[in-house]
Symmetry: D2
């Protein structure tokens, strides 16, 4: 069944908030998301800034210890433009270099607007701050997740085992993310969509826009994962969220070793495969918590007779 979600309220924490919609296992939902500053597709400010989330959406029958599968079926911008900050975050450059960065950390940074050119498949900055810059149109979602354990309500500025503000640039159409369910129904939240974004979201923004996200929500054939996982047409992924990056990498790497064993590898073979074939991708490095993604190509798994998908 397909649902149209109509946000009545937005949340700046991911927690056990009152359920806004309950869907059945395998249902799809069209979810309109405001941008990171709470502005919608009509350029109306409808809620306070700070990655406001649409949700929560419960999936009937999901229990603690289950895994929620979220497939991004389609991302559709709700307006023809976005904005970004023309700066670099203080923590991504050397302390001695901060003075050389435009709009020093802590100062007021003006917005640079970008227009979406669907025909050309690009977004183009207006050049108000610096030159006119073009980038490929690659819509993605920066922040989403499920209600965390023990009643926590975690700011959408950060991330953790529950997901959150991970800003992984390939979390777009065709990607499935697996999230550890910590409360009955899972309670899914989503927002902070970008028309494009570099790795790390190092300026503190992608090209921020309002967007409708069509997701399919179901119970994944996994049990009790420790960290988010993902899958697209070509690879399986594990995601670690922590600071420093070293610890995020430890989380993602441990989870990948567990994942490969669930795919049928013994502990030693999993280590051998990872040593020579793993890839890493860097998500958000602007948050309180940073994100590292570990990746193993499906072709490798197939080649070695291992399970290569957790989709139905």
């Amino acid at each position: 069944m397909h649902h149209q979600f109509v946000p009545q309220q937005f949340y700046r924490t991911i927690g056990t908030h009152p359920i806004a919609l309950t869907v059945q296992n395998g249902d799809s939902v069209s979810i309109p998301c405001v941008d990171a500053h709470g502005v919608d597709g009509n350029d109306q400010s409808v809620t306070a800034p700070g990655n406001p989330m649409s949700g929560p959406i419960a999936v009937a029958g999901l229990s603690i210890g289950d895994v929620l599968s979220v497939t991004f079926e389609h991302l559709e911008p709700l307006r023809g433009h976005g904005w970004s900050y023309p700066t670099l975050a203080g923590n991504v450059v050397d302390p001695e270099y901060i003075a050389a960065v435009p709009y020093a950390p802590g100062s007021t940074v003006p917005k640079e607007y970008w227009d979406l050119d669907r025909t050309a498949g690009i977004v183009r900055s207006r050049g108000t701050h610096g030159m006119v810059v073009t980038a490929p149109y690659k819509p993605m979602v920066g922040c989403f997740g499920v209600a965390p354990a023990r009643g926590e309500a975690i700011s959408t500025a950060t991330s953790g085992p529950h997901g959150g503000n991970m800003d992984v640039r390939f979390f777009g159409t065709g990607c499935t993310i697996y999230l550890p369910v910590a409360v009955d129904g899972g309670l899914f939240f989503i927002g902070d969509a970008h028309l494009v974004q570099g790795c790390g979201e190092i300026g503190g923004t992608g090209v921020e826009s309002a967007m409708q996200v069509d997701v399919r929500l179901s119970k994944a054939p996994m049990k009790s994962i420790s960290w988010p996982r993902a899958e697209d047409a070509t690879a399986l992924y594990t995601i670690g969220n922590a600071r420093p990056l070293d610890q995020a990498l430890q989380h993602a790497t441990s989870e990948m070793h567990r994942l490969l064993m669930e795919c049928g590898a013994d502990a030693t073979s999993a280590a051998v495969i990872m040593s020579q074939l793993i890839e890493y991708h860097i998500g958000n490095v602007f948050d309180p918590a940073f994100t590292i993604v570990a990746k193993i190509a499906k072709s490798i798994l197939i080649q070695h007779g291992l399970r290569s998908t957790f989709r139905d």
Copy 2:
């Protein structure tokens, strides 16, 4: 002119050691490298383990503040097999997960041998420890660099502004690396070649082999870089070496901002481009120092009217 380097001695530090060969600006050199344990192409142990380096090679006319351009013209394995450790490093997994890793950190780890199948373009483990694993044949060099400043002699187990044990998997044929010259002549060292390696060298090894590396050494059209840079057919790169990864990322990101300004961007435009278009790659995370590579595609530079190469 082309030279054949014949190592008389190997070094386990990169420092101001006696020059073994002096070449002219633009000369090429074929350099045979033993593997990380000092074993050559005939399976003979010729020097002590620990990333022994061939070198140093001086380039006539290079002065402090110049930049050495090193182009890897060809990598040729000197034997048909390599080895790896079938484990994961202690620091790449969660402390609570270490007990689940095969061959715990600190214990003796047996070697797994791999055979090179040139026809198929793969390397194949013998399956002594775990299953038979195949990986694409992608030869690369783990450790190389120039003599550091102030008379330091730095272990080839680690890395820094001078280069060193960076273990970047695309440092192979066709890649040019730019290194900051800290002593007259530069003094180039190289070793620790791999038939293939995953990102991070998270098991502590790639598939370690002896290899001949053909390099072209010349003075690059750059002045006084702070960190290594690189270039291949498709992109420009900057490299940060430090621990934690957060600091390595700061180095690489600051250097990329400087690089884009040298390519013609103003400070604000450089920040805008980086925010939406940068990519990061993770090198060694096993060393005392870790490596992060920042990348901007040449197509982006060309599209924005910026300089896109520092090759002649």
Copy 3:
């Protein structure tokens, strides 16, 4: 006025939960706290483990941007014994050393019980695991704080600008802590008391006991602090909570510079004083977030004609 707080419910997050008691500015409250596992002074398990908190207590008239002053007037154990884990946390030793630590991370760790000898002023382990160990009786509170901003509810396993599980060993009788008020009334929570604890809480526990804590709650003569501060008879302190320790130190150091300027120093003099006279203390290094305390002795402030107290 003095109040006796009677917990009806315990919380394992610090957040905007229903107010259990409202007091007037300057009132004192006796607050019974269960131990970290939810066990009270009669050895009865009254709530689930995980640093359950007594509270929240609101202070009438406190508004967002104000600072709550919490003075620990007296700490009184509610039973004559405590317990600890006879191990070291996985993250406080080298990865290669974890195998040498008793009760490896992830395994089941038995409790070691300790008895309080008030006459001798010591606590003494029973020697069930290892030798009989004695330590001075120095009661303190590991976890306390105020409701954080934006509706967050933060696990009592960790810490942040709101306070939380800081495990600073001198947070005992006679210490005043200043906390940034993020919701009207402040909403104070407290629990996780120890009969004694080493720096860092490196085994994951102090000597855990139920304790009654008498606090005086008032509005401090400060505005809009960024991080907790503290004061006792001899010094002023600032507290940073983050991971890695490097970032916690940045928070504490920045806050100390701000504090010294509020005490009357210009920016340069504050830097000079800090460079030669600051001390650091390490709080919790077991949490997701770690704690560093910066300290400047009151004698130094007095000597230089600077404000040396924020007590009434």
Copy 4:
């Protein structure tokens, strides 16, 4: 026997440099040290800046795997004044706070001079930059160590297992430091003395002066330590040098566990003692590598029947 060391040359790396003096086991040596900028007791610049070292001094009979004991018998300033930088290092404050610090990182920082008042037991800044600041006279040595393994020559700007620029404020008269010998004779270097210094050397300097250091050098009754250790009248210490601080703490904590077992504790008892009684001290946080010191009071060791000294 007592020696007077006369430096002929200074070193800005600690490495296997030509031996300047060989002493017998247990001999004492008076070593004049220039300040961090190479200026001597007569205000003469005698060598380049950057923590120039006096040395190396070999101890006859010391072999690889032995431990060098260095006792600071007396520290005597060679001039009546010192200098410091009136700033804070970029990496010790929040990136957003850097702009508020006097003399931004990367800019030119003027020197503030301080006078030593022996009668009063203080040093007093001249107030050229900021107010007149007084601090207790507590002479100490910032940088010393032994030649590292594998032929490394390590910059005196940083630290490692060999010692180096640790900037521990209690490394003064009466303190004994134990260093792991990696080359025959040990090869001891020393320099970078301070009239006083705050924890962390967070401005990048103590009050820098030329100083004569009288040391006694001998073979310690220990074997094959992994990290420096220290001892004074009241405590035993272990020192970890690395970045981030989290890793330095892991080194120091692992080494303390080993040390307590050498003192007679079993592994579990050592963990119990450390959990409730360890203290940490922060050394240099300005270096490439940071320093953490773990401390256990001798009174605790004595009380539990454990060895409490490694002095003769």
